[in-house]
C-alpha cells in the first residue's frame, strides 16, 4: 500500500513556468544567459555544480600543486566531487577533463583564446573532408569581438595567421620561454605570435590584472582570468537572470506536439523537481548534452531526444595533443606566469606535401612546479629513486619548457558518447560512456608535430627532450556530438542552433561543432552561443515555425 507521504515524496515538485531554461552555467550557458537577459524574459539557469570561491582555489595555499591532482584534478573521475558525474573513458586513449560548477570549464582552462580560422568553416570545399559549417568566420566575427570584450582578452594585433583583429590590452608577458622559442622559430623561419589570452594584463571592468600566479588551470584567485563566473554571470545576475546551483538535470520532457515542456532535475537535497519552460537551451558541453538527450528517450522519442538523425552522441572530437618538452642549461620561467605564452600556426593550414589533411597549432608553455617536476621526472625515467633523486631533480626543476600541438580531429561516427549500462551518478542518472580512437590521419599529424617540435626544441638549445603523443589526460575539448547543419538527416541542430526535431530546444555548446579546427574551442563556443542568442532574439516571433 502506498501512503500519502510516499506519494508526496515520489511526485516531483512543480516550479512556476519560465520563458527560457538554460542547462549549464559554463562558457556557453553564461554567454547565452547574458545575451538573452535584455529581452526581459524570465530566464532560469540550472547548474549541477556550485559557485567557487577564489579564496578556496589551490593557489591560495601551500598545497597548491598537490590539489591540482586531488580536489582540483581535471578528471571528474579523479575529483569525484558531489557536483561531478562519472565518465567512463576506459575505451579512449584520451581521458576526459571537465569542471562542473558556475563557470564550467572556464574555471579550469588556461584561457588560451584563439579563434577558429576562416578555412575551418569550409573544410569540405577547401580540402574535401568532413563537412562545411552552415556559418562562416565572417558571420561569427562580430560575436568573437563581443565575446572578447565580455571576457577581457589580451593580445597583440597584427598576427599574420588571422584576419585583422582588434587588441584590447597588451599581451601576456613573453617571458624567457616565449623569447627562447621565438628566437628558435625565427631561426627556422616559422610563424609564432603572442597568444590571445582571456587574461587581463591591466585592470578591466572592475577586475584586477594578472600577477603571474601560474595557476590558471585550477582557478584564478586574482580574478584576472576570464572565467564566466566573474564575467558574464556577474552581468547576467544584475539583469535578473536566475541561476540555481546544485541542480542536476536528468531529462527533458516533451508533449504530444513534440515540443519541450521543461526539465526534470534533482536539487541540492536530492528532491526531484519539474521546471516548465517555453524554451530549453542546452549548454552542457559535448558529453553532458548528448547524455541528457539520450537520457530523455521516451515513447515519443525512443532513440533519445532530437535524435531523428541518429547523430546525437556521434562524431565526438577531442583534439589529440602531443607534448614535447626539453630542458635548458639556464633558468627558465618555471611555474611563474600564465602557463601558455605564445602560439604557432605554421602547420595549421592543409599542405598537400604532408601525409595528412588539415593541421595543428602549437602552444608554447612555460615550466612546471616542483611536484610536477618530480612526478613527470620519475615517470619519464629522468629522476631515479634513491640517492640520485635530488641531483637529477635539480637538473630539471626550473629548467624546462616546451609545447603541445593541438591536432585537428576530424569527425567520425564511430567516436562517440553513449549511456553507460552500469555506471550512474549520485542521483541514479546513467553516466556517459566514451568510445574513441585515433584516426590514421590524426596519428600522422601527431607524428609530424612531434618531429617538428623536436626540431624547435633543438633549435632553442634544449636537451633531455621528452615526448608524449597522444597526451592521455587532455580531453578538454568536447565537440561534435550534436552537430549543426541544414540537413536534418545529417545534423542535430539547424544553422542557428535550434533542434531540427524539437522546435523549442536549442544547443549552444561545443556539441554543435561540425569540425574541430586545430585550436582551443572556447572563444568559438562562446561566439556561437552569442550568435544563436542573437538569432533567437531576432526571430522571436517566428521562433518555432
Amino acid at each position: 500500500m502506498t501512503s500519502s507521504l510516499d506519494v508526496e515524496k515520489d511526485t516531483p515538485a512543480m516550479k512556476d513556468p519560465v520563458d527560457v531554461l538554460i542547462i549549464g552555467a559554463g562558457a556557453s550557458g553564461a554567454a547565452v544567459a547574458w545575451s538573452l537577459a535584455e529581452t526581459k524574459m524570465r530566464i532560469v539557469c540550472l547548474e549541477q555544480g556550485d559557485w567557487t570561491k577564489p579564496s578556496d582555489f589551490p593557489s591560495t595555499g601551500r598545497d597548491w600543486e598537490a590539489r591540482t591532482l586531488e580536489d582540483y584534478a581535471i578528471s571528474p573521475n579523479r575529483r569525484g566531487l558531489p557536483s561531478d558525474y562519472p565518465v567512463n573513458d576506459d575505451a579512449s586513449p584520451i581521458k576526459i577533463a571537465n569542471y562542473n560548477g558556475v563557470g564550467g570549464g572556464t574555471v579550469f582552462y588556461a584561457a588560451h583564446f584563439p579563434r577558429l580560422h576562416p578555412s575551418d568553416f569550409r573544410v569540405r570545399s577547401l580540402d574535401g573532408v568532413a563537412d562545411d559549417w552552415p556559418v562562416d568566420y565572417h558571420t561569427l566575427e562580430p560575436f568573437y569581438e563581443l565575446n572578447d570584450r565580455m571576457m577581457g582578452v589580451s593580445s597583440l594585433a597584427g598576427d599574420p595567421a588571422y584576419p585583422e583583429k582588434k587588441a584590447m590590452m597588451p599581451p601576456i608577458p613573453m617571458g624567457r620561454t616565449g623569447e627562447k622559442f621565438g628566437r628558435a622559430m625565427n631561426q627556422l623561419g616559422w610563424h609564432w605570435w603572442p597568444s590571445d589570452a582571456a587574461i587581463l594584463t591591466q585592470e578591466y571592468d572592475g577586475r584586477a590584472a594578472c600577477i603571474n600566479l601560474g595557476q590558471c588551470g585550477s582557478g584564478c584567485a586574482q580574478g584576472a582570468k576570464g572565467a564566466t563566473d566573474v564575467t558574464y554571470w556577474q552581468e547576467a545576475l544584475r539583469s535578473r537572470v536566475e541561476l540555481r546551483t546544485q541542480c542536476r538535470v536528468s531529462r527533458i520532457e516533451t508533449n504530444e506536439a513534440g515540443m519541450a515542456t521543461g526539465v526534470f532535475y534533482f536539487d541540492a537535497d536530492n528532491n526531484e523537481v519539474f521546471q516548465p519552460a517555453e524554451i530549453v537551451i542546452m549548454a552542457c558541453n559535448g558529453i553532458g548534452t548528448p547524455r541528457i538527450l539520450l537520457n530523455s528517450a521516451s515513447e515519443r522519442f525512443p532513440n533519445g531526444l532530437a535524435n531523428s538523425s541518429g547523430l546525437v552522441g556521434k562524431n565526438l572530437m577531442l583534439h589529440p595533443y602531443a607534448q614535447m618538452r626539453g630542458h635548458f642549461d639556464e633558468t627558465m620561467d618555471g611555474y611563474r606566469g600564465a602557463p601558455i605564452c605564445t602560439w604557432s600556426m605554421e602547420f595549421y593550414e592543409t599542405d598537400p606535401s604532408r601525409a595528412f589533411l588539415r593541421g595543428y597549432s602549437y602552444q608554447f608553455s612555460r615550466g612546471i612546479g616542483p611536484v610536477r617536476t618530480a612526478i613527470t621526472g620519475m615517470d619519464d625515467g629522468l629522476v631515479p629513486w634513491g640517492d640520485g633523486h635530488h641531483a637529477a631533480f635539480r637538473r630539471l626543476f626550473d629548467h624546462s619548457a616546451g609545447m603541445v600541438s593541438i591536432c585537428e580531429d576530424l569527425p567520425e561516427e564511430i567516436n562517440g558518447v553513449t549511456l553507460d549500462p552500469q555506471r550512474c551518478d549520485s542521483n541514479g542518472i546513467p553516466a556517459a560512456k566514451i568510445d574513441y580512437r585515433l584516426s590514421d590521419n590524426t596519428r600522422r599529424m601527431l607524428d609530424h608535430s612531434v618531429a617538428r617540435g623536436i626540431e624547435i626544441l633543438k633549435a632553442a638549445g634544449a636537451h633531455t627532450i621528452t615526448t608524449k603523443a597522444p597526451l592521455p589526460y587532455a580531453g578538454w575539448h568536447l565537440m561534435g556530438t550534436a552537430r549543426m547543419g541544414t540537413d536534418p538527416r545529417r545534423s542535430v541542430v539547424n544553422e542557428w542552433g535550434r533542434s531540427h526535431d524539437v522546435k523549442n530546444l536549442f544547443i549552444v555548446d561545443g556539441s554543435i561543432f561540425v569540425t574541430s579546427g586545430g585550436v582551443n574551442p572556447t572563444s568559438t563556443i562562446q561566439a556561437l552561443a552569442l550568435y544563436i542568442a542573437d538569432q533567437i532574439k531576432s526571430r522571436i516571433y517566428e521562433l518555432f515555425d
Partner: protein, 154 residues
C-alpha cells in the same frame, strides 16, 4: 546532492604504513649533500598518510605487490635487497609505482625544508604572485615581414 565517489575511508594498516614508509624512504632518501630530509621523515610521511584518500585502494594494491615481490615483507629484507625489490617493482608495475611516486612527491615538495633547498619561498602563489619578464617584442619583426599565412575561405 550526495557524494558521487565511493571513497575508501579505511586507513592503511600498521603493516601497510611500515611498508609504505620504507618505499618512500627508498624513493626520496635523506640527503646530507643537499641538506634535505627523506620522504620517510616523520612530518612528511604523516602528510603523505593524510593525503592519499583518493589513492587508498591503489596504494594498498601496490604494497601487496611489493610484499609479494619481497616474498614476505619488504621491511624484513636487508636494505640492498629492498632496493633491488623496489627496482623490480618500478620496472614491472609502472602504473602502481606512479601512484606512490605521485603521493610522495605531492607532500615532499611542499615541505618547508625541501622548498628552501630548491630556492623556493615557502608561500602560496597568491596574493604576492611572481614577476615574469616581458621579453623582446622586436623578435616578431621577421614574422610580420613574412606576411599573411592564413587561407581565404570566402
Amino acid at each position: 546532492m550526495k557524494k558521487s565517489k565511493d571513497k575508501s575511508s579505511a586507513e592503511l594498516s600498521p603493516s601497510e604504513r611500515k611498508t609504505l614508509r620504507c618505499v618512500v624512504g627508498h624513493m626520496i632518501p635523506l640527503s646530507q649533500e643537499f641538506g634535505v630530509p627523506g620522504a620517510d621523515n616523520p612530518e612528511i610521511f604523516a602528510d603523505i598518510l593524510q593525503s592519499i584518500d583518493r589513492d587508498r585502494d591503489a596504494v594498498g594494491e601496490a604494497l601487496r605487490v611489493i610484499d609479494a615481490l619481497a616474498q614476505g615483507r619488504l621491511i624484513d629484507l636487508p636494505r640492498p635487497e629492498q632496493a633491488r625489490c623496489l627496482l623490480d617493482f618500478r620496472n614491472g608495475y609502472r602504473t602502481l609505482a606512479s601512484v606512490i611516486e605521485s603521493a610522495a612527491a605531492r607532500c615532499y615538495y611542499r615541505d618547508e625544508r625541501v622548498m628552501a633547498s630548491i630556492n623556493m619561498e615557502a608561500r602560496p602563489p597568491f596574493p604576492k604572485g611572481y614577476a615574469v619578464e616581458q621579453g623582446d617584442w622586436s623578435l616578431l619583426d621577421p614574422v610580420r615581414a613574412r606576411g599573411r599565412i592564413f587561407r581565404d575561405a570566402n
